[in-house]
């Protein structure tokens, strides 16, 4: 892995600062050596935890000795240590100790914002939820949103202003900047350049623009490694103006994705997932189906996916075609041409299977004009986007609209960066201010940004971490986390959210607004000032500003800021312009670059939750890998964990191989963002983990994919930490995931999937569950897109520790909720893929309970399988006897009890588990308890209520409270695949609870029903909607549709 970083930047640094400065970089490296190693030993992040060095475990050791002798040990607790209570001196309003507050804000990622509600305990943000009022969230979150709370408390974030790597202060920085600003004013800003990531913040835009007015010769460039250039360029070409295309999947009956992973990538992915799944929900009427009951009553959209690298969107497809990236455009042209779009098709010989596939698709699309939509992928060429626009127009699709792009800069980002680099080389750049971003890592390799950077006299970097770029800059100013600062940001549709701080900057970070104010020679204020000013100006008169401001903050969106749809027409010239791509030599291998599903472009590399998050499909943690199809692996003579040298355009990296069923043959997928050198203690690549830096292969002519990769297998192997080694849906596993077509479903809608209650009668007397609340969870695997949001949400809510790669390698990961991923069909061909989230089943007849010798796991009167940590002695018998293996054990002291900043972020309502105790999903019992407090109050009120009307009213309020009671996983889920509730509850209108209604569905089933554990967690079968022209819907079976999936060539 290592010589993937052959040219260590250290020598370059000497060149930068001259020999005089040599001391600095040497000391820096020493710092890197010593401190980071010390950190490993200090276990501030749990990987390679050396608990023996950990003072805590020594204390424990003595404690246990004391406990095992000594009479006081008899009850397991000695004299309680004296503790203190420290009240406020002057309490802030609305803060009630012991009660959480929620604030609305938004998280910007690649420029676009998603609205969130943040839970705060005594001023400490602890949990992030989606903002239902925000168009890009709709109340949902994804893994990255959930995990961003950990970045806030990350002890590795930049903590001080650094000058040439040496400690400095904000004050000194201000001083120096004010001087240079003065000089720039005289020069009209010549030689001054700004480099930002994608910006949509109105305030930041205004600040930059006004700065450029003062300094006309200064320039503003932007660059984002996961860029949407093809979208930008295509909209310019096709429509002549920069627009954002918004897809409304709830209106689409037929969807064709041209290599678009719209369910997980992009600023609107959460909304897309919600709408897409809502159009796939199928429910049998609760009363026995009428005679006329048929598939027509059960409608569902159909998704065709053509993709060059397996994605969760592909996994949800009814028909999936995995092809090399370069073939996508040719397929697109073929389809467009057949649908009557005037466009040159490329000479390609389609296999009979492909031919059938295309024909069926075209017929299906033609049959559904208006309600079909074609979605082009960000990682495809401009041409594909143009074609998609043309097709949608041709089909008169009503499932999409266009809005003005909220981005201030219309130029392509690669173009913008290349120009900046050219200027830097030409020595035209005297001062470069980098606001965010990490171009030294992420810029295309052929630009050699670092080298160009060394020709700039003054380099200022402003970012969260002291990263690869900061290392090469004279000044580094710590940025603020979005939960620490004032700002604003646009959603994909232009809706603006105000970003408000929930906590003062933990590490003295400064927001970009403050830096620009500084450059604008304005008095130093907190960013809030700049923001309010901007919005006073934008809003003009009418009504009280404070009112407007408060509403905007409370709702998390600025009223009426959503951009109106614009009508655009495709310029025919755009179609003529594009020429069919030359088909490359078939033999050589194609490389595909994708953002990592968890750490994105690498900016989240130091986030332990994301690092340890099993990636969708691969289930890998802590590393990236060279993903190849089984057939390609065989052709190359490599297998899992084999290390290979990858060479593209003369650049080489060394990577371990991971074989991924469903990957197109003849190509290799590399995830970006790994192999970091200065990410932090968690993210830095070491001998044992941290992956390889795929950016080193990525060139400006191969940003998303490129042909001509050379793969050279090596002798050695590299261990990859995968959390699910057996993924084939066969043998004993077959019944774990029920999949059927909606035709099959409606054919047997009345017949349940399970043996009758009679057949499942237990030898033990039934427990009376007719009284009180009886909690249950229903997971709709038809709605689960496997995005992992629930997994991280659970981790955040329940203080679940990160254990590190070494422990994951030994199958000791702690996630209470895992997403099992199964492949059906021949892995060599294109197998189907299914996701199945597995939390604790909370069995009525729980096998874990009766084996516990101390009664640490018991059954509550409300059907919860309770795990009482403080009673647990750690026999692990319960885990052995759990058929679902959902229990997790603290084999070592995993929870970090020493790092103060991490303790701030913990959920105070959940015990932090110590070494040696078992833990598992609790249905978020702390939330149930919180709800119960309210419900009991209401119940008492209802008891007192005089009139039936009042009682009914209170009953409704109880309904609402119950509806609001969700475990973290359900709350986070973008597709509402998880439903929680009370089986006994009757609403004011006399209806049963949502979860009860789902459990009565004919396709509701329990895992391993034959064991008769009678789980409270149940599943709804996955339903598919195949094209009858391609496969008979009634004889269809999982993986059986294989022959309809043509292999590559």
């Amino acid at each position: 892995m290592d010589d993937a970083r052959l040219d260590s930047t250290a020598p370059r640094r000497t060149r930068l600062f001259g020999c005089g400065e040599g001391r600095i970089w040497r000391s820096l490296d020493e710092l890197a050596e010593t401190e980071e190693f010390a950190a490993f030993i200090r276990r501030e992040f749990p990987d390679q935890a050396e608990v023996w060095q950990d003072p805590l475990s020594r204390r424990e050791f003595l404690a246990l000795m004391a406990a095992s002798f000594g009479v006081a040990g008899l009850t397991g607790c000695t004299r309680a240590p004296d503790s203190e209570i420290v009240p406020y001196v002057d309490p802030p309003e609305q803060v009630v100790p012991g009660q959480a507050l929620r604030f609305a804000t938004a998280m910007p990622l690649s420029g676009y914002g998603r609205g969130v509600l943040v839970e705060s305990h005594l001023g400490r943000p602890t949990k992030i939820e989606g903002n239902p009022d925000h168009p890009a969230s709709l109340g949902a979150t994804d893994a990255i949103l959930q995990a961003s709370i950990l970045t806030l408390y990350d002890p590795d974030r930049a903590k001080e202003v650094l000058r040439r790597g040496g400690t400095s202060t904000w004050g000194q920085f201000v001083g120096e900047v004010r001087q240079s600003v003065a000089t720039f004013r005289q020069r009209g800003g010549r030689g001054l350049r700004f480099l930002t990531e994608t910006v949509t913040s109105p305030t930041l835009t205004r600040q930059l623009r006004s700065l450029l007015e003062i300094l006309p010769a200064a320039r503003w460039h932007h660059y984002e490694p996961i860029t949407q250039d093809s979208r930008r360029e295509a909209s310019r070409k096709a429509f002549g103006r920069p627009v954002n295309t918004i897809y409304h999947f709830d209106r689409a009956a037929r969807i064709l994705s041209l290599d678009a992973d719209f369910l997980s990538v992009g600023p609107a992915s959460l909304r897309a997932a919600r709408q897409f799944i809502d159009a796939r929900r199928v429910r049998a009427p609760l009363e026995p189906p009428a005679a006329g009951q048929s598939a027509s009553a059960l409608s569902m959209n159909r998704l065709y996916v053509i993709e060059s690298s397996p994605s969760i969107t592909g996994a949800m497809a009814d028909h999936r075609l995995a092809v090399r990236s370069e073939r996508v455009e040719r397929l697109a042209r073929e389809i467009a041409a057949r649908l009557g779009v005037p466009i040159a098709r490329s000479e390609t010989a389609w296999t009979p299977a492909e031919e059938r596939w295309i024909a069926a698709l075209v017929a299906d699309l033609r049959a559904h004009p208006g309600e079909s939509v074609i979605v082009p992928g960000d990682f495809q060429s401009t041409a594909v986007h143009v074609i998609a626009h043309a097709l949608n127009e041709r089909l008169g699709s009503t499932a999409l609209t266009h809005v003005e792009s909220p981005e201030p800069l219309a130029t392509g980002q690669l173009e913008s960066l290349s120009e900046l680099v050219r200027e830097m080389r030409a020595g035209e750049v005297d001062t470069l201010v980098l606001l965010g971003g990490n171009p030294v890592l992420t810029a295309p390799a052929d630009l050699d940004f670092a080298e160009a950077l060394s020709r700039v006299n003054l380099r200022v970097h402003h970012s969260l971490y002291y990263d690869e770029t900061s290392f090469l800059c004279h000044w580094h100013v710590p940025d603020t986390h979005y939960l620490e600062t004032w700002s604003d940001v646009c959603a994909f549709d232009g809706t603006v959210s105000i970003i408000q701080p929930l906590i003062a900057p933990l590490y003295g970070g400064k927001s970009p607004h403050q830096i620009l104010d500084l450059l604008l020679d304005r008095p130093e204020t907190d960013a809030g000032e700049a923001l309010r000013e901007e919005w006073r100006a934008r809003r003009g008169g009418g009504g009280s500003f404070d009112e407007f401001w408060r509403t905007a903050l409370r709702q998390g969106v600025v009223a009426e800021s959503t951009l109106p749809p614009v009508s655009v027409r495709v310029d025919p010239a755009a179609l003529e312009g594009t020429a069919p791509p030359a088909s490359p030599a078939g033999a050589d291998i194609e490389v595909i670059f994708r953002p990592d599903p968890a750490i994105w472009d690498g900016r989240f590399a130091n986030n332990g939750w994301l690092q340890e998050l099993p990636r969708p499909l691969t289930k890998l943690t802590w590393d990236n890998a060279a993903l190849v199809s089984p057939r390609t692996a065989r052709a190359l003579g490599v297998e899992n964990e084999r290390v290979v040298d990858l060479e593209l355009r003369g650049r080489t990296v060394r990577a371990p191989v991971w074989v991924l069923p469903g990957h197109p043959d003849g190509s290799v997928t590399l995830h970006l963002g790994y192999g970091r050198e200065r990410a932090g203690r968690v993210g830095n690549a070491t001998e044992k983990r941290g992956g390889f830096n795929a950016y080193r292969l990525r060139t400006s002519d191969a940003m998303a994919s490129g042909v001509g990769l050379i793969v050279r297998p090596r002798a050695e192997r590299y261990r990859l930490a995968c959390t699910q080694l057996h993924q084939m849906l066969e043998g004993p596993a077959e019944d774990l995931v029920h999949v059927e077509t909606i035709q099959q479903f409606s054919a047997r809608a009345a017949r349940p999937l399970e043996p009758s209650a009679e057949a499942r009668r237990s030898m033990y007397p039934e427990v009376d569950t007719s009284r009180g609340h009886q909690w249950a969870l229903q997971i709709d695997i038809n709605a689960c897109v496997g995005c992992n949001a629930c997994v991280v949400a659970c981790q955040a809510e329940n203080n679940i520790p990160v254990v590190g790669k070494e422990q994951v390698l030994n199958a000791r990961e702690m996630h209470w909720l895992r997403i099992d991923t199964y492949h059906a069909g021949d892995p060599e061909e294109q197998p189907d893929t299914y996701f199945e989230p597995v939390p604790c089943m909370h069995c009525e007849k729980a096998p874990c309970e009766f084996v516990c010798p101390v009664g640490a796991t018991t059954h509550s009167s409300e059907g919860l399988n309770e795990m009482t940590y403080n009673r647990c002695v750690g026999t692990r018998y319960c885990s052995n006897n759990c058929p679902y293996k959902v229990r997790r054990f603290n084999f070592l002291q995993y929870s970090d009890l020493d790092t103060p900043s991490l303790q701030l972020g913990r959920n105070p309502d959940v015990t932090v588990r110590s070494r040696g105790v078992m833990e598992k999903c609790t249905y978020c019992v702390q939330r149930i308890q919180r709800a119960r407090v309210d419900l009991e109050e209401l119940a008492a009120a209802r008891g007192d209520a005089a009139s039936p009307q009042q009682q009914l009213e209170i009953h409704r309020r109880m309904d609402d409270r119950l509806a609001a009671l969700e475990p973290a996983c359900a709350q986070a889920c973008p597709t509402r695949a998880i439903t929680f509730g009370d089986l006994n509850w009757k609403t004011a209108s006399g209806a049963v609870s949502a979860v009860k209604a789902l459990q009565m569905q004919p396709h509701s089933y329990a895992l391993l029903a034959e064991l008769n554990t009678q789980p409270r967690t149940r599943y709804l079968a996955r339903l598919v909607h195949p094209n009858p022209d391609l496969v008979d819907p009634l004889s269809w079976k999982p993986g059986g549709g294989r022959e309809e999936h043509p292999g590559e060539r």
């Binding site: 096998p847 009766f850 009664g855 018991t858 509550s860």
Partner: protein, 189 residues
């Protein structure tokens, strides 16, 4: 310490188990009642000769076992049904089949303890100090030789006559067993 002023009894020594058995039976026939035999190995029938009667030990063991059985079951019933009735995997609170193993184990444990402690108690053990140990040759009683001791507390005991009687039984030797009197108990007559 003071020399033996009171006699515990007369100790006759034999070299074969059969001999001591024979002697004991003859002594009993003679009307001696307070006597005991000491042998390095259990000799069948000897105890009837020296001290007829059956031991109460089996009864004690039975009682001990019964106590363990009842107590064991009660313990579990009380703990899981009365004290803190948990719902454990939908099992009844009173899961009697699950209570059997421990009930059994406790039965055996209590019975076993009773057997051993009872045996010791009835035998008056531990008793590290005993007048017989005053006789130097008595140390052979745990190794190679067989002894019969007629105690002075026997109504028919008469130092001379009994000695003669024992010698007639063919004892290898007959020795007086002195009983020591603690100085604190004041002088003997």
């Amino acid at each position: 310490m003071r020399s033996a002023s009171r006699i515990y009894g007369l100790l006759a020594e034999f070299d074969r188990p059969a001999a001591v058995l024979d002697a004991a039976q003859r002594a009993r026939a003679q009307g001696y009642t307070r006597m005991d035999a000491y042998t390095p190995l259990p000799v069948e029938g000897l105890h009837e000769a020296v001290h007829p009667g059956r031991t109460r030990l089996p009864l004690l063991v039975l009682l001990g076992g019964a106590f363990g059985c009842a107590g064991g079951y009660f313990l579990q019933w009380y703990a899981n049904v009365v004290a803190y009735p948990w719902n454990i995997g939908g099992r009844p609170h009173h899961s009697w089949p699950a209570f059997i193993p421990i009930t059994f184990e406790l039965t055996v444990l209590c019975a076993g303890l009773t057997a051993v402690l009872g045996m010791l108690a009835l035998n008056g053990l531990p008793r590290p100090h005993h007048p017989l140990f005053n006789v130097p040759r008595f140390e052979l009683a745990s190794g190679t030789h067989f002894f019969l001791c007629i105690e002075s507390s026997d109504p028919r005991f008469d130092l001379e006559e009994t000695r003669r009687f024992l010698e007639e039984l063919g004892a290898m030797s007959v020795t007086e067993v002195p009983e020591l009197i603690e100085p604190t108990e004041g002088g003997a007559p």
